[in-house]
């Protein structure tokens, strides 16, 4: 078991993390490349950069949405996102691992705060799953992955919390820790290829929306030619 855990925490972690970073780079570069290419082809290059920036900041800090529509959904969603970003990066145990690997560390969350945030993340994840099941609209819209993602995302939080806060036998600890590490690694591998890729390309959305409405000039002829409609009546 220990050997397996060592493998999961060592080479497998490095591999999956590398895949995630590479995947992030891929989707981000593709999005930027697409936007730059579209902008280059656009007949009208006037873009309201300021408006797009303002809206982007608004959605990166979406406090306003709590007070507009679906307040519970918005609140739990924000909580889940905060937990997903802060806990993996600022938890003391994680920073120690980084220190070992990189030779330097950074600020950590106090244990009480980390525990509270972990519990809040778990509650938010469960609430989002329940909300999706309970709402007929969301049931109608949802794919399997829309239910599975919050479930998968909270597994490392649940296992991590149990390992660090409850007295369990060494064997149970190892099993839980293995689940903790493997589920995290599964998340790393899947993120860049699924909707969770939004964590890196979301800041581009408002800009892409504006650029997408800037059409290239002279497309009429080209489309007509490709569709063999040249000279045809409307």
């Amino acid at each position: 078991m220990q050997g397996l855990l060592d493998f999961a925490e060592g080479p497998l972690f490095r591999l999956t993390f590398f895949i995630m970073v590479l995947g992030f780079a891929r989707v981000f570069i593709l999005a930027i490349w697409g936007a730059v290419d579209a902008y280059r082809k656009a007949g009208d290059k006037t873009i309201a950069w300021g408006t797009a920036t303002r809206k982007t900041i608004g959605w990166l800090v979406p406090i306003r949405s709590v007070f507009t529509h679906k307040p519970f959904y918005s609140m739990f969603s924000i909580l889940l996102h905060i937990g997903l970003i802060l806990v993996p990066i600022l938890l003391l145990a994680h920073v120690r691992l980084w220190e070992t690997a990189l030779g330097f560390g950074w600020l950590t969350l106090p244990k009480t705060w980390a525990d509270l945030l972990t519990l809040a993340t778990i509650v938010a994840g469960v609430a989002i799953i329940i909300g999706r099941i309970a709402s007929s609209n969301l049931r109608f819209l949802s794919r399997k992955q829309d239910y599975l993602w919050p479930l998968l995302l909270i597994i490392p939080f649940v296992t991590g919390y149990i390992c660090s806060n409850t007295a369990v036998t060494p064997a149970t600890y190892q099993i839980l820790m293995l689940m903790h590490v493997l589920s995290s690694e599964l998340i790393f591998v899947l993120i860049p290829f699924t909707k969770i890729a939004h964590c890196v390309i979301m800041p581009l959305s408002q800009f892409i929306m504006l650029i997408a409405w800037r059409f290239p000039a002279h497309v009429d002829d080209d489309v007509c030619t490709t569709l063999n409609k040249k000279g045809m009546q409307i």
Binding site: A31, G43, R143, K195, M202, I211
Partner: protein
């Protein structure tokens, strides 16, 4: 925004078939709008060919790539959609509507989707899916409210716009729009209402006489004057049914000593291409610019019309010169500027009844023309009340996206599409609702009638015509171009 769901009886009326069963059978298309007969053979293949051709020559692909990675299906857009609010049908949630096309894109235009589809033999485009898109994309009024609250930044309106474009390339588009555009681009009259030039000239002379009688001064509609500051061009339907709006505009131009003209070779700002086909959008823009260039006009001044203003402002630069393109502006921008500079005088007590203002989506959603009309209204109305929400978040009249021109779906428009707007107008208790847009005017007029709301729809310049004060200098001015 919350509006009550329509009753089952209203639902039945709004969604009742409008076509004979044999037409539906012949066209293999169960949609409420009328479609010209088209080639029904092999529709999925032809749809995909059209989709591929459009992707090849447009900027849509990068946006679709982004959207398929971003979509989280949170349904926050449902709260913003006036259609969904009225029907409570999840098929009307913007996110679902977008998925209809995004699924086609994923399955047929991405490597992963294509491999998965071939491996499991699922997800390919079928006739049923085409029919669902043809129905759903024209249930939407393209008001773009759904984009406001999408945390992922998915532009559902752009996806609907693209979906309509692809469908139109295989012959599925509302007949009303296609016939109008055909007349505008290939017909003898060259405009969507098929008004012959002599009839236009007669109408304008008649209006000039009316204005002379009512205001006691010569107010002209100058025709074909070269080198003017403004080539004025309204939605052509204004010449038929919005005479007072045109008189108001002519009066403003007279009072402010503007150098302006109306072209006789092309006098229709309507651009239905914006609603169903980018190729038509481009052709109409080129025709508009050709007329402005013929007249050597310095600016294109669009009348009270939202979509015409938006298509000119954003697509004249796209297709005709980028940053060097002839600037296009909306008439309310001009009139407000004149008021601000003190060149336009309005009687502040002209309208004492309660007045409210409807924001046309195409000029308000991006925050372009929102303050100008309000400042103008406050200059001649003593009792102005806002609808809620308003400005950038304003609610569609229910006839947006070209649907107002589809007469056979009037019941749908006034029962479902315009339900939220009707509730808003009713809540203000206003005597007048100002709608400075040709599409919104027609829709709101029908909405007030069908929903039995005791309120009068009116154009902004119709009221300005009542409020305008001509001083002595105006009466003596008869500039060269106004003799034209």
């Amino acid at each position: 925004m919350r509006t009550e769901v329509i009753t089952p009886e209203e639902h039945e009326r709004a969604f009742a078939p409008t076509k004979k069963p044999e037409v539906t059978e012949r066209q293999k298309l169960s949609v409420r709008y009328h479609v010209e007969d088209y080639d029904i053979a092999d529709r999925p293949r032809r749809f995909l060919e059209a989709f591929a051709a459009i992707l090849k020559h447009s900027n849509y692909r990068f946006a679709l790539e982004h959207f398929i990675r971003m979509t989280t299906r949170c349904s926050k857009c449902a709260v913003e959609c006036p259609i969904y609010q009225a029907t409570d049908d999840p098929h009307d949630i913007p996110c679902h509507r977008s998925e209809l096309l995004l699924n086609v894109y994923r399955r047929h235009f991405t490597l992963a989707g294509s491999l998965k589809g071939r491996l499991f033999g699922t997800g390919h485009l079928t006739n049923d899916k085409i029919e669902e898109m043809a129905d759903s994309f024209w249930n939407c009024t393209a008001c773009r409210r759904c984009t406001i609250e999408c945390p992922a930044g998915i532009d559902h309106a752009l996806i609907t716009h693209l979906g309509r474009y692809i469908l139109s390339e295989i012959g599925i588009s509302p007949r009303a729009l296609v016939v109008s555009v055909r007349e505008q681009l290939e017909g003898t009259t060259g405009n969507t209402s098929a008004i012959p030039l002599p009839a236009l000239i007669d109408t304008l002379e008649f209006l000039e006489e009316d204005m002379k009688e009512e205001k006691g001064i010569d107010i002209k509609f100058p025709l074909d004057v070269e080198g003017c500051d403004y080539m004025f061009i309204p939605a052509v339907s204004d010449f038929l049914i919005e005479a007072e709006t045109l008189m108001g505009i002519a009066a403003v131009m007279k009072a402010t000593g503007a150098s302006w003209t109306i072209g006789t070779q092309y006098f229709d700002a309507i651009n239905y291409g914006l609603f169903y086909n980018d190729r038509m959008l481009e052709r109409i823009i080129r025709k508009l610019v050709a007329e402005a260039e013929r007249l050597k006009a310095k600016n294109i001044l669009i009348g009270e019309c939202g979509h015409a203003s938006r298509s000119a402002k954003y697509f004249v630069p796209t297709h005709c010169g980028g940053k060097n393109a002839i600037p296009a502006l909306n008439i309310m921008e001009y009139t407000y500027e004149m008021l601000r500079k003190g060149k336009l005088k309005l009687n502040p007590n002209t309208i004492t009844e309660t007045v409210t203002y409807h924001d046309p989506c195409n000029i308000a959603r991006q925050g372009w023309v929102v303050n100008q009309p309000r400042e103008l209204i406050k200059a001649f109305c003593t009792n102005f009340v806002e609808m809620t929400p308003n400005r950038e978040k304003g609610i569609c009249c229910g006839g947006g996206g070209g649907t107002v021109s589809i007469d056979e779906i009037r019941t749908y428009r006034t029962t479902v599409g315009g339900k939220a707007k009707a509730d808003q107008i009713r809540a203000t208790g206003a005597k007048y609702v100002i709608a400075p847009c040709a599409n919104c005017k027609k829709q709101i007029r029908e909405l007030l009638e069908d929903q039995k709301i005791d309120c009068e729809m009116i154009g902004l310049h119709d009221l300005i015509y009542k409020a305008i004060i001509f001083d002595e200098s105006n009466k003596s001015i008869d500039t060269e171009n106004q003799k034209g």
